[in-house]
């Protein structure tokens, strides 16, 4: 049954990919939707079995990948409460995106290929979350990266797309570089790749230290956890490895929703939660996680305010929300991180798909300055966008409210180094989130209609394959928080899957005061977050609807600051001009000076000339050059053998 969950989308993907021309468009989308639907239904059944019927977690191998030097590397599944939750989220969002794609990619010549890719992605993501060992985790990790690469560059004739996909892969590889070292460290200390074995030896691991520099021991767990987290920084786009995510918007919108919002980018969050037994043993590593996450949460949010591309605004919002999840991990509120991951998966997939619906209506125009007043043309898209945005900013009762509020409170409770900074960032981030979210809503759906005449005449609501997924995603965006806040955060749902040391357990402290969702909402009125969000919405209202000339004035006032934001803090500039260009110059230097001048010029050709000179007699027989050498060698060999023969 577990194997069927991963194989259904894989087989569907192979069918659609290799036989795309044979089975046609309808065949391709039918088979992949069927595959993912099977996966979803099975995941839901497994979830029900474990969460409601009390079935025990499953941990078992499928096959042995290789055995060497006493290390057994296996492919296998660990299905516990954390896994089942991820499985349901992944397959549900994937199914919605599959259906949506029928409408969005309707006229695209690469229709079958697209379905093959997103099904393959679903397979890879499931392999990642269902793994019971580091090898398969890494396989899924890189496989989702591969599909992301293929999908960002889906429109492979666009120069920006094929630049963005290479950038995404390479930046992720920087993260994977750390990830592999972390895995190697674990294998070094435990001789195993299996989660259970490794977690069983965590105390012994924490006693070790690595002498990275002469005479300076570093705690092994800290080194390993930071290395693993560097992997998460790549995949979950944390500063400074976030640079690929905004560019990944070059891909078709359905994948922005599926891969770059709901699932793949949350793999890093999932991984750290999965590794909670290890991360709990290093305060230093968690402080590192906390500070990186907090920085991402606030500073990426700022970028959402100055961008005019509707998809990129949502992308920066994703970066910022991933920062929130990371902060939760840092303060040991893993449950809150995963809770936010889940609610975010629904409302952010919704926001992306809604943005896609807008883009379709606008004939693939993505600049919000060309939009405005769309709410009367796209009522369903408008309503669902509004729901998604309200969930995102944490409107009381909506899903994002529960997860974000719990998360912020958890940060407030924490005493870890850096928690003060993080608390400031996540609170300030609430205002920023509300501001950019409603800036987007107001610029797109309200105010004057700024599009040209032709576009306006053709504006109409998207077909049902697009709006139905929007509605289906809007439902959990509103409701899921109500039902799950209790069990996920305070009800011990993750017991056994996520391990928190009692002295860090901020959620437990909060849980002591928890008396149900209604009381949770009322509590929120006594905390600053809600008022910050309201202030953010109000600011957006004033700035973009009441006095639309204000933003330009403000910008003129703070020109230098605006430059910094407009250049995205200069990360891209640095990567391109320092790292990429530097590597190329270094490569050129090594090649021309090292290989061509020193080795070839001085050593090889020097000796070659000497040989040529001495063999000047032979040289004029141009055609026989090669044979002469070969012949000379054989003769030499024969002479030597003959000498030995007579000598002995």
């Amino acid at each position: 049954m577990y194997i069927a969950v991963v194989l259904a989308p894989l087989i569907a993907s192979i069918l659609a990919g290799l036989l795309g021309r044979v089975i046609g468009r309808v065949g391709a989308h039918s088979v992949t939707i069927l595959g993912v639907a099977v996966s979803f239904v099975l995941s839901a059944l497994i979830f029900k079995g474990q969460a409601f019927d009390g079935q025990p977690p499953f941990n078992g191998a499928v096959y042995t990948w290789l055995v060497s030097d006493g290390i057994t590397m296996q492919i296998g599944f660990l299905i516990d409460h954390l896994t089942t939750l991820m499985m349901v989220v992944v397959t549900f969002v994937s199914l919605m995106v599959h259906i949506y794609t029928i409408g969005y990619m309707h006229d695209d010549p690469g229709y079958q290929r697209f379905f093959a890719y997103i099904s393959l992605f679903t397979f890879a993501m499931l392999m990642l979350v269902m793994s019971n060992n580091f090898l398969q985790l890494f396989f899924g990790w890189e496989a989702v990266g591969l599909v992301s690469y293929l999908l960002i560059g889906f429109w492979y004739t666009r120069p920006t797309a094929i630049f963005a996909n290479m950038k995404a892969f390479l930046v992720n590889r920087v993260g994977d570089f750390g990830f592999v070292l972390g895995i190697a460290g674990i294998v070094y200390l435990t001789g195993s790749l299996d989660y259970q074995t490794v977690f069983g030896m965590k105390q012994a691991m924490a006693q070790h230290s690595f002498a990275l520099f002469e005479g300076q021991p570093f705690n092994a767990m800290t080194v390993i956890c930071i290395c693993l987290f560097i992997g998460a920084m790549g995949k979950s786009a944390q500063v400074p490895l976030h640079v690929w995510l905004p560019d990944s918007m070059e891909g078709p919108t359905p994948i922005s929703a599926l891969i770059h919002a709901a699932t793949m980018v949350t793999a890093g969050i999932f991984m750290v939660a999965r590794m909670s037994p290890l991360f709990e043993l290093s305060d230093t590593a968690r402080s590192f996680v906390l500070i990186i996450g907090a920085t991402t949460a606030l500073f990426m949010g700022f970028l959402g305010i100055v961008n005019n591309d509707i998809k990129r605004v949502v992308a920066y919002s994703t970066l910022s929300q991933l920062g929130y999840m990371t902060v939760a991990l840092g303060v040991s509120a893993y449950g809150a991180g995963i809770f936010h991951l889940m609610t975010h998966a629904f409302f952010k997939a919704l926001l992306f798909l809604a943005a896609g619906s807008v883009i379709m209506a606008m004939h693939h125009e993505q600049d919000m300055r060309q939009m405005g007043g769309l709410r009367k043309y796209l009522p369903i898209t408008y309503a669902t966008s509004l729901i998604g945005s309200l969930a995102l900013i944490g409107f009381p009762g909506f899903s994002g409210f529960f997860s974000k509020d719990a998360l912020i409170e958890a940060v407030g409770e924490s005493h870890l180094n850096g928690a003060g900074y993080a608390y400031f960032c996540v609170l300030a981030g609430v205002f920023v989130t509300a501001l950019y979210s409603f800036r987007m809503i107001f610029m797109t759906f309200h105010g004057p209609e700024r599009m040209d005449q032709h576009t306006r005449e053709h504006l109409h609501e998207s077909p049902w394959v697009v709006t139905v997924p929007l509605i289906l995603l809007a439902i959990p965006s509103v409701l899921i928080g109500w039902v799950t806040v209790g069990p996920l955060l305070f009800g011990g749902y993750f017991d056994g899957a996520i391990v928190v040391a009692p002295e860090h357990d901020v959620l437990k402290e909060m849980g002591a005061n928890f008396e149900g969702p209604v009381q949770f909402i009322l509590e929120a009125f006594r905390a600053p977050a809600l008022y910050l969000a309201a202030a953010g919405v109000l600011s957006a209202y004033v700035l973009y609807l009441v006095k639309p000339e204000m933003p330009a004035k403000i910008r003129a006032r703070v020109e230098p600051l605006y430059r910094v934001l407009d250049n995205k803090y200069g990360f891209d500039w640095f990567n391109e001009h320092v790292i990429a260009a530097g590597s190329r110059s270094l490569g050129k230097l090594f090649w021309t000076i090292g290989d061509e001048t020193l080795i070839d010029g001085a050593l090889v050709n020097g000796s070659a000339r000497a040989v040529e000179w001495t063999s000047a007699l032979v040289r004029h027989v141009q055609s026989g050059y090669l044979y002469h050498y070969a012949f000379a060698m054989i003769m030499g060999l024969a002479a030597l053998l003959a000498y030995l023969l007579f000598h002995t």
Binding site: S68, T157, F169, L181, I599, D600, V604, A630, L644
Partner: protein, 504 residues
């Protein structure tokens, strides 16, 4: 299954004799020559199936042994036998030769019979190298194998083929001569060329050091390691596609095989004391060559440099065991490193062979290997584009492909020795991806670059077959490497015991 016939001799001499026969058929009846060449290479591949199946994977001893006197005056024997280290390399040889012959089917216009004959003869000689258990016999095969390669590059090569051949010759010959001296020296001490006798021979540290350095000269050139690598890009660029494939897939493996078969067990103490040299050069190779590969403008040169970087993992995996013992006091991990080195060799054989074939497919159509002459190839050749992306991903070490397995094992082993070894080795994750994906971006993706690209026809059935078979092999090793590592494990464990045993 017991094999009662001399299977290794058949695998060695059948291709050589068929090669002679193919040559005799001559250029008048190319069709006959071609089919004869294909059938004999297929026969060799078919014979390697029972070889694999009846190989006892639980044993580290030499198997399928054939032993008769050869040159009695020298006590040299015709002594063949293989262990788990040689077996996969022999199968890789017979497998690659079939593909090379199919790939050259109609492409070679100049003296095709001789072309196919050269590959068959080379196949037999390479199998001989891997199965020889006698030092002199090994040496004869080792040197003889170069002749067909010289001819292949020199006759069917590109414009600067003479320069490339001379360079190839000078490098390899210089190394080989020193190896012969070392072999003769040990013969004079033991009175035999049997490799097992060399393993048992006690040697003082100065003796070992000199012997080690002689072997090192031969093998480092073959691998090749920095700084004796510059023959390889030139040889690859000038060689015809088939020559590049065999050069990359098999010939480079001779160096790694030599380290495993000669350096480590014969001079264990010198290997231990000079391991810094090999490990240092390997790590320099990974980074230095990775950066050089980044700026190549010729596709073949880029793949050639990427080969050198990948082979850095092989040499690192071979010698890292000594550092593991030095830092942890246990040999745990040494076998992992060796196994990783071997898997890396096999994988590199498949992946770089496939990439050279891909370049060949493009070259046959547009007659240029310059990256700038392409762009947007996938628009005209979608199937080819898919293959190329797959093989490039394997080259970048993506899990699920063979390219990942060996690198992963070597990194795991290197971490046991020293964090920084693993750190430097793991930079290949970034560098390897950088030069490979940049190649993909410039050649495969993008708008159609020019009229030449627009006129490209997608792969034909023959090309599809060759690339398809390689794709299956690359994925199979990536998804399920256990059969391969099971064959290697006992022999490598035995090797670890030899390389850790002091002889002084």
């Amino acid at each position: 299954m017991q094999i009662s016939w001399p299977i290794l001799s058949v695998l060695t001499w059948l291709p050589i004799l068929s090669g002679v026969l193919v040559m005799l058929v001559g250029e008048r009846q190319v069709g006959v020559a071609r089919w004869l060449a294909l059938l004999s290479s297929l026969a060799a591949l078919a014979i390697s199936v029972p070889l694999w199946l009846s190989f006892d994977t639980a044993s580290a001893a030499l198997q399928f042994v054939e032993r008769v006197a050869w040159i009695p005056g020298l006590h040299a024997e015709y002594y063949l036998g293989i262990d788990g280290i040689a077996l996969p390399l022999i199968v890789l040889t017979t497998f690659s030769t079939v593909l090379v012959i199919i790939a050259g089917w109609t492409v070679i216009e100049k003296r095709p019979s001789q072309y196919f004959a050269s590959f068959l003869i080379m196949e037999g000689l390479m199998v001989g190298v891997f199965s020889a258990a006698d030092g002199l016999l090994f040496y004869v095969f080792w040197e003889a194998m170069l002749i067909p390669m010289f001819i292949i590059i020199g006759v069917w090569g590109g414009v600067r083929r003479v320069y490339a051949t001379i360079k190839f010759f000078l490098y390899t010959f210089l190394g080989s001569v020193l190896m012969l001296v070392a072999l003769v020296y040990m013969y004079l001490k033991t009175g035999s060329y049997e490799l097992a006798a060399f393993y048992r021979l006690p040697l003082t540290m100065p003796e070992q050091t000199l012997i080690f350095l002689s072997f090192f000269a031969a093998f480092a050139v073959k691998v090749p390691m920095v700084p004796v690598h510059t023959w390889l890009p030139d040889a690859h660029v000038e060689a015809p596609t088939g020559g590049s494939v065999i050069l990359a897939a098999i010939m480079l493996k001779m160096g790694g095989y030599g380290f495993l078969r000669f350096s480590l067990p014969i001079t264990p103490d010198a290997s231990r004391s000079l391991d810094w040299l090999v490990i240092g050069l390997s790590l320099i190779g990974v980074v230095y060559i990775g950066l050089v590969a980044l700026v190549q403008q010729d596709m073949k040169k880029l793949i050639a440099y990427s080969s050198i970087a990948h082979m850095g993992f092989v040499t690192l995996g071979c010698f890292v065991g000594y550092e593991i013992v030095a830092s942890t006091g246990s040999v745990q991990g040494a076998t992992l490193g060796l196994s990783g080195a071997m898997v890396q060799m096999i994988s590199h054989g498949l992946v770089s062979g496939a990439l050279f074939l891909c370049v060949g497919v493009l070259y046959d159509r547009l007659h240029t290997r310059q990256i700038s002459a392409y762009g947007g190839v996938i628009n005209a050749m979608p199937i080819f584009g898919a293959f190329m992306v797959l093989f490039c991903m394997a080259n970048a070490g993506l899990p699920g492909t063979s390219g990942f397995v060996g690198e992963f094992m070597v990194i795991l082993a290197a971490f046991r020795a020293n964090f920084w070894f693993a750190f430097v080795a793991a930079t290949t994750l970034i560098l390897g991806a950088a030069y490979t994906l940049w190649l993909v971006k410039r050649v495969v993706f993008g708008e159609v670059g020019n009229d030449g690209v627009a006129s490209l026809k997608d792969v034909n059935g023959r090309e599809f077959l060759v690339l398809g078979v390689l794709a299956v092999a690359v994925l199979a090793v990536g998804v399920y490497p256990k059969p391969l590592t099971d064959v290697l494990e006992p022999s490598l464990k035995h090797l670890v015991s030899l390389m850790m045993l002091s002889k002084t």
